[in-house]
Point group: C2
Chain length 245, copies 2
Amino acid sequence: MLSKNQIKYINSLQQKKFRQEHQSFIVEGAKSVLELIQSDFEVESLFVTDDFYKENESLLEKQPLRAEIVSQAELERVGSFSSNNAALATVKTKGNQELFAQANEYVLILDDIRDPGNLGTIVRVADWYGITKIVCSKETVDFYGPKVISSTMGSFTRVGIYYTDLVSYLSNTSLKVYGTFLNSANVHTIQFAEAGYIIIGNEANGISAEVERLVTDKITIPRFGGAESLNAGIATAVICDNLRR
Amino acid sequence: MLSKNQIKYINSLQQKKFRQEHQSFIVEGAKSVLELIQSDFEVESLFVTDDFYKENESLLEKQPLRAEIVSQAELERVGSFSSNNAALATVKTKGNQELFAQANEYVLILDDIRDPGNLGTIVRVADWYGITKIVCSKETVDFYGPKVISSTMGSFTRVGIYYTDLVSYLSNTSLKVYGTFLNSANVHTIQFAEAGYIIIGNEANGISAEVERLVTDKITIPRFGGAESLNAGIATAVICDNLRR
């Protein structure tokens, strides 16, 4: 059974302030926790239901940290999921380490993505397309929030995140910097460089004026119907798919 | 000011049961309401803030229906948005009219999409790529729910929806039926036919076995990294983008 202090601690990690204070975050649900315990993240505590334990016994017994058995109701009480019959972990965050594109690598740049579900989806899309580094403006939503982590569907274990000032970051690169704008080069026909940066703009305002000045190649996803825009996660996927073909 | 009966009626439309009973649904927010009043939907009642009225006066004065001025607090009390300083309308639903692909047309088929945000995103993506018909299994979430409508960002006005039994529907076509599976034909290299159907599967279980039997062409979105899957809206966008290039 969870103690009062454990309940209070886990609950507190739903808030960014306490995640930063404790340098910890919550991972919930079967898929995410299974990816977590096979990753290089440092698990602080692990709570699982009896059923989840039995189903994953061999994997769980290999863990340095012993899982505590709790009820589904307890998992739902401390976590953010309305339904969780599997597992919840508290995990140490990673430091904010600098990430740059290597000579044959693409890195995503997020210019103020505010919606946690969008950030999670972008991380999952990046992981699908083999992009392992994402650089975020300081105003981008916190990567370690429960909604972001759960929306990544486990991809948070494979994609590194670095928060920084985008203008100074991009001022120092000699690689191509791609950004999506209206009436620019058709993403279906352009030839992408070997390496570079792809900027995804804010949900409401797109790419900011300061960052736009550092874009070397403006690109457009061609439109065939009436919608005014695509959401940020969708645009990321379409650009990455064109990049990889 | 809204009357008690108006409040009760609008609130009730957040539930599918009452939307079906009254054959009406809610449209909220500036963008959606502006697209609505320029569409062929029949608006039943229209509530706007003073500011929204002034900003859109010429358009609103052309409407057959007079807009009632209400406060932001009233809009938020009756609607599903936590913040709405613009407008809300109640609107007649359209009948469930049969939709089929014409000789040069693609139609999306949704095999049990359960999440309202996913359905809304799929409608918006379809609209971007010029697909104006979507056929849904009977278990697919209700198109007229407030979360679906708002996620379409106005595209609900340009895309027709038809709920039916997919197995009988697909049994009668001679066009190609594409569906996404693992280890099938690469969507980057296949040659799409002039017309056909594209099936998007359920979020957790993919395309059902009964529907899979009616797929003529199995396709795969190639993966370059570690993520196990893409979400339904993302997969729709990537397939449509490949179809249109």
